[in-house]
Structure formats: C-alpha cells, structure tokens
Symmetry: C3
C-alpha cells in the first residue's frame, strides 16, 4: 500500500469510533491529521445507522459501559452487513470480568478486520476466543489471527502484524509513547482509516509504521523543557505533515513471512 | 458590540454547556480564554438547577444520548423561564433519525437565541422546523431565522449571520480549522458567552469574527513542523490574548442588510 | 516525603480515577507525567474489581451521573476494604442538590484519605458532613478534617493542607491556573498518586507544592503569543520533567502546626 496517505487525503473516509471519553479528542484530531473524517457517536439508538454509512468502524473498550457495549454490537452488525471493516481495541480487557464478557460477545457476534492491543491484552483476547488459558510466553499472534479470522496487531517494544499467513515485524516508535495517554487508541483509530483505504494486512502494517514514525519524529522534536503533553501534540502534528515518501523511507518494517 | 471581550472579562459569565465528550475540554478552555466560566453538567437530575443560575446555555448534539437529551430539555426549559439565552449546535443532525427527532423535540420545546451549524446541518434543521424538504441550493438562513424565531449562524467557506432582519457575511478564518476537531463546537460555546454579554445578532457576528480571527492568527503562527494539534492550541491561545481593538481591526465583516 | 517523585517513577502505582469527561485526558497525561499509571473506568459493573487492584482511587464529582455515582460507591467500598487511599474532589458540589446528596452518600459510606477542593466547595462539604450551615468566613479546614477523619486540601490564593493535627500553608502557583480547565482535577489526581507512594499529610502537601511549582514553571515558560492552551501543555510537561531536587528547592511551604 504505497500511496495510502495520498489516498486517505483524496477520499476522506468516514471513520466511526465508539470509543472511550479519555482519548476521543486525540483520536479525532489524529484521524483529521491523517485525512480521514471522524464521527464519534455512541448511542445505541443511532450507531447502526451511522456505522452503515461509514467507511470503517473502530470499537474501543476503554471506559466501557453497558450502553456503549450495546451501541458496539449494533454498529458492528451493521458494519458487517455492509462490508465495512471493523477494528477492535480491547483496552485493559484483562482488568475486569465486565470487559472480558463484553469482548466475548463482540468476538462471537462481529467479524473483525483487525484487533489491536498490547501483548497482555492480546493474550487475554486469545483466551477469550479459544476458551482456554494461555501462558504469556506461549502467546502466538498467528494463533489468534487464525482462530478469530482477523488481522492481528500486537504492539510492544516491537510490534507484530499478522493475518496468520503474512507476518511483519515493526521496530518503529519511541519509549515516550508509553507516557502519552491514548497512544494505543490513536493507532487503532488510524488502523481503521488505513483499512478504509485498503483492507489488507499491509495496510495494518503501514498504520503501525506511520504511528511509530510519528512517535520518532515527535520525540526528536522535543527540546528542554518539553514533556509528554507537548509530545502528544507533536505526534499528531507529525501525522498531519507525513507524506507517503516520508513513510516509505522512515518505516522500520521486516517481512517475517 | 464594541467592547465585548472587555465586558466578558469583567463579568465572567457562567456558560452551561451540555455537550459532547469529544471536544468538551477544548470548549471549556476556549470559554476560559474568552473570560467566561464554563460548567459542563449533563445529568438530568441537575441541569435545570444549574442552567437557572447560568448566564448562557449551550446545547450540542455531538455524542448525543437519551440521558443527555433529557438533560437538555430540562435545562432549556429552565433557561427559557429565566430569560437566559440558549444556543443550539445541531452537530451531524442529518446523520441519524435519533438526532433528527432530538432536534425536533428541542425546536418544539425551547426558544433558541441562536442556532449554529454548517450548511448541511442548518438545511437539516430547517427541514425539521418546517416539516418540508429543502434542496441544498435553496437553503436560506433567513427562512430558518424567521421560522424558528432565532438568530442563525451558518458557517462554511464564508459565514452568514442573520436574525431574519439584519444579515452579516463574515469571511474570516483559515481552512485548517476544518482539520481541528471541535472548531464548530468551540464557536457555538463562544457564541453562548457573547450572548451572555449582549443578546443580539451583532454579538453572534462578533463571535464568528473572533473565532475566524483566532483561526487566522493560529494558522499564521504555525511553523514547520506544526500541524493541526499545535494549531488547536494556538487557536485557544489567540482568544486568550485577543483584545477588543484587535477584534475590531481584524474582523472581515460585511453588513448585507 | 523527600523522594516522592523518584518513588512514583520506580513503582508506577495504578491510580483509578472515576472522573468527569471534560478533564479526564489531562488527568491521565498528568498522572503519566508523574510516573503513575492511570485507569479511568467508570461502569458500576467493573469499578469495584478495578479499584481493588489499584494503588489509589480518585473520585471526582464533575459531570456526575447516577451511573457514575453508583460506580464510585462500589469502588470506594472496595478500596476501603483493601486499604487503598481514596481521594474526593467535590467539583461544584454547591451547584446542585444532586451533587450534594451524592457527596452526602459518599461521605457516609466511604473513608477518604483526602478531600481536595476550593474554599466554596470545602465549605459546602463541611456543611454536608456536619449537617449544619457554615458561614464562608468561619470555614475551618481543621474542623472538616476532624469531622470527616480525613486530610483536607483547600486550594485558593493560598493553599491549606491539614489532617487536623499538622497544618501546612502553600503559596506556590500562578494565577493563570484558574484559566486552565481541570487544574483542580489534575491536582486531585496527583494527590492520589502521591498518597499511593505514602499515605500522609506531608504527601498531600507535596502534591500541592508540585502542582504549584508546575504552574509557576509553565507560566514562566510562556512567551508571546502563548495562552492558556499552551500553558496547559507546559504544566503537564513541567511535571514530566520535575525532579525531587527541583520540588524540594522550589516549594513554598510553611508549617503552621
């Protein structure tokens, strides 16, 4: 997917996010920076209707509520009926029974184009999908991809992207991203936008490369006495200014297939 | 309304916003920048009580919920009983039946001092208010002003402000504002603050001029590698530093009456 | 508590906030800046479970809802059972009957390690706790500390911190902090993090000193044409870069005991 940012900026895909209120503003500005158009509706009365006219749907389990979960089920079903790619971000799914049973319902009812989380979250998703415990050291993203018939983005010190067939390792990014709230949420939202342009494992890898590169550019822009708040702005700014050429040159991507 | 910013900064009007969680933080900081005091309560149990002691009420349909709608109805009625100006921002009202029926109820029950939206939103509001379809090219802000007995702020490449009698065209602003989430929400919040100072069509026009000028100042402050996130901060900063003299000199306002 | 920032940055305490959506993002970034790990869950279905594994719990009455109140009651009880310090921020508690009855229920059911608010809020809390009216000029933080068996942080032109025995006066900070939404919420969240490191009145005083110093550093960093939005970022940045040495040298603390 060589020209994905140009494509986004010519097509302006509508990305419907049902997401937490902590980072919704950052996700919206990040999507606008990338060239997409965010819509953040989360009332069960309207999410099916809104998702049906979007080009991607992103479901994020942060600040989950019973109402927001119901909104996700209705939106996810509508997106699936209309062939619209759906991304799941299982934020802190290991942290409560409520989130686990929510994830179980969503995995049963909705076909996800991609699931994006850190290793602890993704291991928990695999346990929910398989119904069997999984040791952290034995977690295999490819197993989750096969079981849930989805693309998997597992982020951490290095990031793995796989659809069970092709697998990429990405080593972009900067440690300060762990000190910015919503860095993961923003990547999941960006993944939705990239999948709207092209629903492929390469698009997922490109989204991870873009966020990693934005993190590196933001960190390199920091000066005394900048901190994580300025860096959050620099990160969104970096996506706003990012070109396909810059992304192509700056990516740290290895094909492990 | 020549000294409206000085007036705001001496009176500190309380502006009660029932608004979406995506841009609530930006609206609050924008109101503080202008000299107003924001209060963001949205529980039906308390909004009538809080609206009754505010100097303006702003109702924003983004991330609408059944509970927030009920809160708006109660707050709007209380504001009307107490002569407090109420602003409606019909965010994405065309996007769902839920928002349309919400707007219908609010338009029936509440007297609005001003309604602020883009052309697509305002056309949809006119259709709801009149009960008849309206072609985009035939949308007339004056018709909505007369029908809903309100001041109308229709924003876009150029902005129109009218109360059905007087009409102003404003050509301030910068295209990057379309890439900042909440640019419209912030203008609606600012309109509430300006109406608290003086409830007039001139105040509405002044709010539009102030946001447009802030957008221009913010855009002119951008340097490599700033993007939309930095620009959002610059925009709020510009309102914080804006003087009445600067607003008077910098406005791009034409009286079409 | 001489090395509290170093301690936070080695222990990374989990701080569970049940808080308003207006400033949740700023509170999360502020906690990350300080070295803590924020979790912002507010569904009654999960808050007891999440609070039980946190190292501090912060309850904030902004944008209160019936559901969020129920979530607070369950989380507070779980925190008390597990010996986890709980902070109350009675945002605008004087503004509605709903907030007052919520505060009454929370004060009856939950043992707070600290309560943080401005003079108007704290006077209102005292009236709720005592069941008797209190004239503003006769408000005594020590009385509230004794009655509610809690540490009290009363912020304003100068800040008072007391547990009824020891009392500190802090004169740090900058007036611009009143123009930044969430400045109080952020201090309450930081207090939670500091109490996770050491549950003492000195920790509360240190949190107030840290926020005040951050405000001073942020204000001194402002240049033309910076305003309150840039200052918000500078404030979080200042906490991100703050060292124990800097805090020790920069604090303006007087022991009134």
């Amino acid at each position: 997917m060589r020209r994905i940012l140009s494509e986004l900026r010519s097509k302006h895909p509508l990305v419907h996010c049902i997401t937490n209120y902590v980072t919704a503003n950052d996700c919206a500005n990040l999507l606008l920076a990338a060239g997409a158009v965010p819509v953040m509706a989360d009332a069960p009365e309207e999410t099916a209707e809104i998702a049906a006219r979007a080009q991607a749907l992103v479901l994020n389990l942060g600040t989950l509520s019973e109402s927001r979960l119901q909104a996700m089920r209705l939106a996810g079903a509508a997106a699936n009926r209309n062939g619209i790619p759906v991304v799941l971000d299982p934020v802190g799914v290991w942290a409560s029974q409520f989130r686990q049973s929510a994830a179980r319902a969503l995995l049963r009812e909705i076909e996800f184009a991609a699931i994006r989380g850190n290793a602890q979250e993704m291991q928990s998703v695999l346990e929910i999908a398989s119904g069997a415990p999984c040791e952290p050291e034995r977690f295999d993203p490819g197993e989750l991809a096969a079981l849930a018939r989805t693309k998997v983005i597992c982020t951490g010190a290095e990031d793995l992207v796989t659809d069970g067939g092709k697998t990429f390792r990405i080593t972009s990014g900067d440690p300060i991203q762990k000190r910015i709230t919503g860095a993961g949420c923003m990547l999941s939202a960006l993944t939705g936008a990239f999948l709207a342009a092209e629903n492929s494992v390469e698009s997922c890898a490109a989204a991870v490369c873009a966020m990693g590169l934005a993190g590196e550019l933001a960190a390199s822009r920091m000066d005394t006495p900048d901190g994580n708040a300025s860096c959050r702005n620099f990160l969104i700014d970096a996506v706003y200014n990012m070109t396909d050429e810059q992304l192509e040159e700056g990516k740290r991507l290895e094909d492990l297939t």
